[in-house]
């Protein structure tokens, strides 16, 4: 991943947070997605949005950390970085330079189940994006020296995002504990031990295996004419040859038999806890096909705003948490997971926070949620359905996610209706079915002191006082 602010390993955590606020297209929009397929198997999705003279083009590949075998974790993400390091036709630096010269923004992101590249441009420059993006689908150089330098950049990225962030470490260890032997147990950015010995040959194999038009989806959203976009896509992407891409192994989560608990020690000032449960995603085809949507509504009942239960009862009422939130992605490719994470209030312990959270879950299992709460969630669904159309990038992101992970972008259209159909009884049903002790994993941060250092400040030693910089 390249760039700075826009750039992030899109871990499922983040995606889930976004997924919670997005809820399908309005019925009126059903006709404004145009779908096409090139002869080489590349899928094209176009959504018109004529509000501004802008276009976003995204190319999604069905590849990400959940496809990686042990020993080369992080290879998808490192390859994403190397996609910016030159092809035979456009040497290193040219891609970014040409996009910049055209006033564009470009970047890429890797997740568990996808890798995506995008450019946002003034609408008349779409061809520039297609020329460059189609060129690097099969033409990157993977130069040994460039790889060595870029690997160091990725290792620094891992230090920045994970090694030096106590809560990220807990999240990483949480996943390892909750998903033993399962691809979702590995970090998107890869284990440090694997990154340190990664070789460029592994990237070459990975690139040849997965970067094929038949394994890619082109999403274009903006002030465009679909017929022109399709003609342009044929011109640039049409000549690329598809190689057979084998379907990935279908990993199943091992049935958990008892509560798992882990503790992570790291320098920090504030404790943190993650409590999670294995639950189904749409892809798992649960016994009742409404279960993922009921779980999503439940997530909003608990954490869908300041009037929702967690804010109202845990932060304000009992004052047991400083912050507490839920996350659930109904559209994960392999497995769903319901996560609750939070920091205890100043005079409260992790144990007290956990107890209060579990009591909240118990309440969901007892009494059906009130009509008022359900209606509030549904009002938020209707509104966010409009609000999300304020971003062309996000509209593209939804189409790309659904098509890449489920070969079905229409899932994003029915999503809204599915949420609207959820009943209070269904919410209670999933709470009873899945919030069970044997299905639970708990990860706790045990904060280690951050020692003060008084030798600092060569010119003004008063500045870095202990009180100021070290809370405990």
């Amino acid at each position: 991943m390249i760039g700075q602010s826009l750039k992030r390993v899109v871990q499922i955590f983040i995606v889930t947070l976004m997924m919670l606020s997005i809820n399908g297209f309005a019925a009126a929009d059903k006709s404004d997605v145009t779908e096409a397929m090139l002869d080489n198997g590349m899928k094209i999705l176009i959504k018109q949005d004529h509000r501004a003279p802008v276009v976003v083009a995204q190319v999604w590949y069905r590849i990400g950390s959940s496809y990686e075998p042990d020993g080369i974790t992080g290879v998808s993400h490192v390859l994403e970085h190397m996609m910016f390091k030159g092809t035979g036709k456009y040497p290193k630096g040219e891609f970014n330079r040409i996009i910049a010269e055209n006033g564009g923004k470009d970047n890429a992101f890797t997740g568990r189940d996808y890798t995506a590249y995008f450019q946002t441009l003034e609408k008349s420059r779409l061809a520039v994006s297609m020329e460059l993006e189609s060129d690097r689908m099969q033409g990157i150089l993977l130069d040994e020296d460039e790889f060595a330098k870029e690997l160091n950049v990725v290792i620094e990225e891992r230090r920045l995002r994970t090694e030096d962030k106590a809560e990220s470490k807990v999240y990483e260890k949480y996943n390892e504990a909750a998903f033993p032997g399962h691809p979702y147990g590995r970090p998107v950015i890869g284990w440090m031990r694997d990154l340190e010995k990664l070789e460029v040959d592994e990237l070459k194999k990975w690139y040849q295996r997965y970067y094929s038009p038949a394994n890619a989806v082109l999403v274009v959203v903006g002030d465009v004419d679909p017929a022109e976009v399709i003609a342009m896509a044929k011109k640039y992407y049409g000549p690329l040859k598809s190689t057979a891409v084998e379907s990935p192994e279908k990993h199943v989560v091992v049935n958990q038999k008892a509560t798992k608990r882990i503790t992570v020690k790291a320098p920090a000032n504030v404790p943190y806890v993650i409590i999670g449960f294995h639950v189904p995603a749409v892809a798992n085809k649960p016994e009742n096909d409404w279960e993922p949507y009921a779980l999503e509504v439940m997530s909003a009942i608990l954490d869908g705003g300041s009037a929702a239960r967690f804010s109202d009862q845990l932060v304000r009422g009992q004052q047991v948490a400083t912050a507490v939130s839920t996350s659930y992605d109904p559209f994960a490719r392999l497995a769903g997971h319901f996560l609750i994470s939070g920091n205890p209030a100043r005079d409260k312990s992790i144990g007290q926070l956990e107890k209060a959270v579990l009591e909240q879950l118990k309440m969901l299992q007892g009494k059906p949620v009130s009509e008022t709460e359900l209606q509030r969630v549904k009002a938020q669904v209707i509104a966010s359905n409009v609000y999300e159309r304020d971003s062309v990038f996000y509209q593209g992101m939804k189409l790309g996610l659904m098509e890449t992970m489920h070969n079905d972008w229409r899932l994003s259209e029915t999503h809204n209706d599915r949420l609207q159909a959820v009943t209070a009884e269904q919410v209670k049903y999933v709470a009873r079915k899945y919030f069970q002790p044997e299905n639970m994993t708990v990860a706790v941060l045990d904060p280690q002191p951050i020692p003060s250092n008084e030798k600092s400040a060569k010119t003004d030693s008063k500045i870095s006082s202990k009180e100021q910089y070290n809370a405990n």
Binding site: Q4, R51, A52, P53, K89, Y90, G93, N96, A100, E101, N102, G103, K105, T120, E122, S124, V128, K149, N152, E156, L160, E163, D164, K165, P267, A268, N269, V270, G304, G305, S306, A307, A308, D312, V315, R316, Q319, T322, N343, A345, R346, D347, A379, A383, V386, V392, I450, P451, N453, S456, A457, K458, T459, D460, S464, E467, Q468, Y469, A471, N472
Partner: protein, 434 residues
Amino acid sequence: MPTRLLEILVLFFIFPGLAAAAPKIEHWVTEKGARAYFIETHALPMVDINLVFNAASAREPADRQGLAMLTSEMLLEGSGDLDSKAIAEGFEDRGAEVGTSSHRDMAIVSLRSLSDKQYLDPVVDLLAAVISEPSFPEKNLEREKARSLQSLDHSLQQPNTVGKRLLYESLYKGHPYANHPAGTHESLKSINRDDLVAFHRQFYVASNMVIAVVGDLNLAEAKDLVKRVSAQFNKGKAAAALPDAPAIRAGEHRIGFPSTQSHVMTAYLGIKRDDPRHLALKVGNYSLGGGGFQSRMMDEIRDKRGLSYGAYSYFLPMQQTGPFIASLSTKNEQVEEAYTVSKEVIDEYLKTGPTAKELELAKKNITGGFPLTIDSNKKLVSTLSAIGFYSLPVDYLDTYIDRVNALDHKEVTQAMQSVLGSASRVTVIVGEGQ
């Protein structure tokens, strides 16, 4: 398409009608003295409203740091008969999103709602009532103070936060911009309800407020909405001008921290938001550290040497002189090398400014990318807020591209040299072994 053909295409792209495409900004002042800005757009059935007050940390006494933030956080905690839950429900039951934030210059209250009157009218009236007359319940304040202390501790787990705080303290010693928006442990504990009431009475007033509105309303509807909001507030007075920033006491500060990376941040005093050199510096900084992979910092530190994931610089112009900051982070063992390279990059750049090629690229990116900066209601309302808060001309967007295109090498280089050319800079390095 061969490379050369693409180059030709790029060279001959003209930006058709872009200047004309900038949305029309309506501006008026309400009877109470609030300054209103409006952009009409009916593409989506929604409205965004920002109330922007000159009521952030630059307005709090040094021994009450965090007061502005606490006031902002307490705005939705109670008003009249309504408690925090009733207020939250009042917005969320109608699908509206409301938020408050406060940093150094601006305290912002934002509202996003569907434009249908059955939703919009009640949430706008609720917003105006609650923000103009918050009750600041004592019990809720105690809870929010405890939460703020916990948030402060939480943020101090990050070496870059620790460094950034010291950077502002050193850069603005004795000036309100040295205040930490999130407060200090001592100051947060000392804040009481009377402080909030007085702060709100002085600064959350119509004469100290910008109302920015974007969305599915016509001008008459927008004027009515703004009037209803403004009418709820006391007229009051606009906040006084902030004192000039003091001269920098150059220095290098190092803080030990148990992290695998060291964070290096170097700051200079930059400019005020209304400085005529603003665009010249934006263009100038693009090639230094603002233009991502097109900038020298990224090229030298990340691309050529693989030392850091990010390496960048930016100006943060404010109502008083804001900072210029250049940052990177790298593993502790190689921090001196990365620090040396970053200093060399800055010093070298200040000698001669951008090359002709760099300047051309910077201008093309900034002008060609202009449509992307105003392509959503969210971006428009934040642009309007800045135009209003900093009293920029209402044709700011219309003339933007022409003003960038008019800049030449001399103007850009002189602007960079005049602002950053002196050796006065402060550097903070935070990491293990520092």
